[in-house]
């Protein structure tokens, strides 16, 4: 019964969204009353979709296998957490999650957007409702999660064992919040184009949403990367898989948007470009959804391949993106450019940032889509894999990293480049010193790696140096400096922390790729192997039983160079319901570095086990850097919220605070 209520709630939400969209687009000029209606509509949509989602969760938790979705993707032996995550561990459920986050964003605008000009608010909510109508209809008509079975099975088929992990509880919600959050920027862009009004207040409204989505997308991607790292079992953390690229493209475009919105907010320049980026970013999110959901790509993310769904999403994509760009083409002329500045200035640096990020986005986009297009047009199949992306993406990122530390040093409007170079010279020296030190300690072949490392140190140290420079350390007494440091605006801290995080990630990426040690060997119980100074001894093989799997775990003791010993338990699992085998790597963290162990196959007869060992120096910095970047975004976001009152219409007086 509750499932039918949930189904009805989703239908009702779709209907409300459709009505809201139509009313909003026709009567947006009416202001107050239509805006009020749309606000209530947005909140209602959220409540109804939320109720529908809750009924699904309830059915999964109760193992109600008369629900087709639960029967196909859940099992009564699964732990509670995985019963819940099973809801979105499949195509239909993940679409509902997508729609739910979409309406959550709409409701958030309705709730926090009271101080927005009413016509703008109406247009934003109307666009948001239009998106909801489209995607909720897609869910209802092609991938209905509420279908019942007339002859329910006694037991469910189990969730894909690879997905039975805490990662499924975290990665999709974070990623979707990021993806879908950009819909708000998109809606604001559409509203600006229709109303023809765009100013610094608009940018102030859009930037927190961009920041919010970007924070979640960053965390989502990092989480997905770490999940792949520990689950897929060969220690890779980024594969340039089309599905990864699908999430990475909106991130790149979103990062560009974050920076261009800054220029627009501060200097009232780059308006058309910012609107364009807002549309592009969400379009790339949609493209990602299409690529993943259509089954055009096969990957661990593609739960079901159904060509009709693919076609419908493609049509949706064409209408939304095509419509947005048509509108852009018609109306962009009405947005006037403003803000004069010299080429060497903060604005100039941010434009260069945008140019390089946009090029990087294009490189990833072409690499992802070209094989599909070539196959469709000529029938030739080629692969575009990691080596291609490493080369092209690396070639674009390197100059970006070189110029990055200069950016925050440059003044708005017109900057003195020579003085900035002088102020950063010691940072370059320090980065060089750190690189040489690292190289001397680690050794290794001379390759491109030291340059990568140098760039990482340069960016990280440059970010810290910016704080030092602004606080005037070493140029005035220490107390004044500290007072200045803590008196810096939060945005300054956020900028420095985000750039520092990027540098940290780069250092981790270079170090873990270039200096990793690998050992593949067969071990009998009692035998030892050495890798990077760690002595790993295979003690015994144990049989373990999990709630819904059987497992063989190798018990290994690891003697670290400092003399301490730890026990590691890499496993081979068989999931009972599906009979699927998986491996669970054992990962031991030492400082920022990790020892990664995977238990391979057993040798016949003699008790020998194939063991794969990797030592990955500073590998955790990759994700730590991403966490720092997200943290920086959150810091900036808290600062923005204090100023939410700023973009109120001029005719209303702002009460004194």
């Amino acid at each position: 019964m509750s499932i039918e209520l949930g189904h009805f709630a989703l239908i009702l939400a779709t209907a409300i969204a459709a009505v809201s969209a139509v009313l909003g687009f026709i009567f947006w000029k009416a202001g107050d009353r239509v805006a009020g209606f749309l606000q209530q509509g947005a909140v209602l949509q959220f409540l109804l979709v939320g109720a529908g989602f809750a009924t699904l969760i309830q059915a999964f938790v109760a193992s109600d296998f008369s629900l087709k979705l639960a029967a196909e993707h859940s099992h009564s032996d699964q732990p509670l957490l995985y019963k819940i995550t099973s809801v979105w561990g499949n195509h239909e459920g993940s679409m509902v999650l997508w729609v739910m986050i979409l309406v959550l964003m709409g409701a958030a605008v309705a709730a926090f957007g009271r101080s927005l000009p009413k016509d703008l608010l109406a247009l934003v909510l109307a666009t948001q409702s239009l998106l909801t109508t489209a995607f909720a209809s897609f869910t209802l008509f092609t991938s209905n999660p509420f279908t019942r079975l007339t002859d329910p099975p006694f037991e469910g088929l189990d969730l894909n064992p690879v997905l039975q992990d805490i990662g499924l509880a975290i990665h999709p919600p974070l990623l979707y919040t990021g993806y879908v959050g950009f819909s708000i920027c998109f809606s604001f862009a559409i509203a600006a184009l229709i109303s023809g009004r765009i100013d610094t207040a608009w940018a102030r409204w859009v930037r927190p949403w961009t920041l919010f989505s970007w924070v979640f997308l960053t965390l989502g991607i990092a989480m997905g990367s770490y999940w792949a790292y520990y689950e897929l079992g060969w220690g890779g953390w980024w594969f340039w898989d089309p599905v990864e690229n699908a999430s990475f493209m909106p991130w790149l475009a979103g990062t560009a948007l974050l920076h261009s919105a800054l220029v627009m907010e501060k200097r009232n320049a780059l308006k058309i470009w910012t609107v364009f980026l807002s549309i592009i970013t969400f379009s790339l999110s949609l493209l990602g959804t299409f690529l993943v959901r259509s089954g055009i790509l096969t990957s661990v993310h593609t739960f079901a391949s159904d060509p009709t769904r693919g076609l419908v999403i493609l049509a949706l994509l064409a209408v939304v993106i095509g419509g947005a760009f048509a509108l852009f083409a018609f109306r962009a002329q009405s947005l006037r450019a403003g803000g004069l500045f010299a080429p060497v200035s903060r604005e100039g640096a941010l434009i260069l940032n945008n140019l390089l990020l946009a090029t990087a986005t294009v490189a990833v986009l072409v690499g992802t889509l070209y094989p599909l297009l070539l196959d469709a047009l000529t029938g030739r199949t080629i692969s575009v894999g990691a080596p291609f992306f490493d080369l092209t993406f690396g070639a674009i990122m390197a100059p970006l990293l070189v110029i990055l530390p200069f950016g925050p040093y440059l003044a708005w409007k017109r900057a003195d480049f020579v003085s900035v170079v002088q102020r950063l010279a010691w940072v370059a020296g320090l980065a060089l010193f750190a690189t040489i030190l690292f190289f001397a300690l680690r050794g290794g072949a001379v390759s491109l790696a030291p340059f990568g490392l140098l760039l990482g140190f340069w960016v990280a140290l440059g970010a810290l140096a910016e704080l030092q420079d602004r606080a005037k350390f070493f140029r005035t007494d220490l107390r004044t400096s500290f007072r200045r440091l803590f008196g810096l605006p939060r945005t300054a801290w956020a900028t420095a922390l985000a750039h520092f995080g990027l540098g940290v990630s780069v250092i981790g990426i270079v170090s873990a790729s270039a200096w990793q040690a690998e050992l593949v060997t067969t071990m009998q119980p009692g035998q030892s192997a050495e890798i990077a100074g760690y002595v790993v001894t295979f003690d015994k093989l144990e049989e373990l039983a999990g709630p819904n799997y059987r497992s063989q775990a190798g018990s290994f003791s690891i003697a670290a160079p400092d003399g301490k010993t730890r026990i590691a338990l890499p496993e081979r699992r068989i999931y009972v319901a599906s009979g699927t085998p998986t491996t669970e790597a054992a990962i031991e963290t030492y400082g920022f570095s990790q020892l990664y162990m995977q238990l391979g196959e057993a040798e016949e007869g003699n008790g020998g086990q194939v063991v794969r060992l990797w030592y990955k120096p500073f590998v955790t910095l990759i994700w730590l850097g991403a966490v720092l970047m997200s943290g920086a975004g959150l810091i900036s976001l808290t600062y923005r919220r204090l100023r939410v009152g700023a973009p109120r219409p001029a005719h209303k007086s702002v009460p004194a605070e």
Partner: protein, 151 residues
């Protein structure tokens, strides 16, 4: 000896496979290193975007063994890769070749950077141009002004 190897390979092929196994590895570390480097650039044809070096599929194992056979037989890296491409097609290359049909793939990003750079350059130059000083008065205007001011 060769028959023994063949029998051994056949026996191995029937086992469930993981990515690079100790028994596949070549004794010569230089040769093995070359084999690993080549493997990283070859696609496992039945997998989801994995190199044969990473993959645990049967086919990936066969390819790894094949690469090692070619290297042991004295092939250069290029010849070994070509041998695989001849049999499995271009799809096996993770790094696509530069050829007419992949031209768009390789040049799009540089072209975007170039065009974008030119647009930005022109845009910045235009932005820098300050409003021109008003043109000098024409003869009639000067006369008119003269007439007005002398009134």
């Amino acid at each position: 000896m060769r028959r023994l190897l063949a029998v051994l390979l056949l026996a191995l092929a029937t086992l469930p496979a993981f990515s690079v196994n100790p028994d596949e590895m070549l004794a010569d570390p230089v040769l093995e290193g070359r084999a690993r480097a080549i493997s990283e650039h070859l696609r496992c044809l039945v997998c989801q975007n994995q190199s044969i070096d990473d993959s645990d599929a049967e086919l990936a194992r066969d390819l790894r063994v094949l690469v090692r056979e070619r290297l042991t037989a004295g092939d250069s890296d290029e010849a070994a890769v070509q041998y695989i491409v001849d049999r499995y097609g271009e799809y096996v290359l993770l790094n696509p070749v530069v050829a007419p049909h992949t031209l768009v793939l390789w040049v799009t990003a540089p072209v975007v950077l170039l065009v974008g750079g030119i647009v930005v350059f022109i845009g910045l130059r235009r932005r820098r141009v300050l409003p021109k000083p008003p043109a000098a008065l024409s003869a009639e205007e000067a006369a008119a002004l003269e007439k007005l001011s002398s009134r």
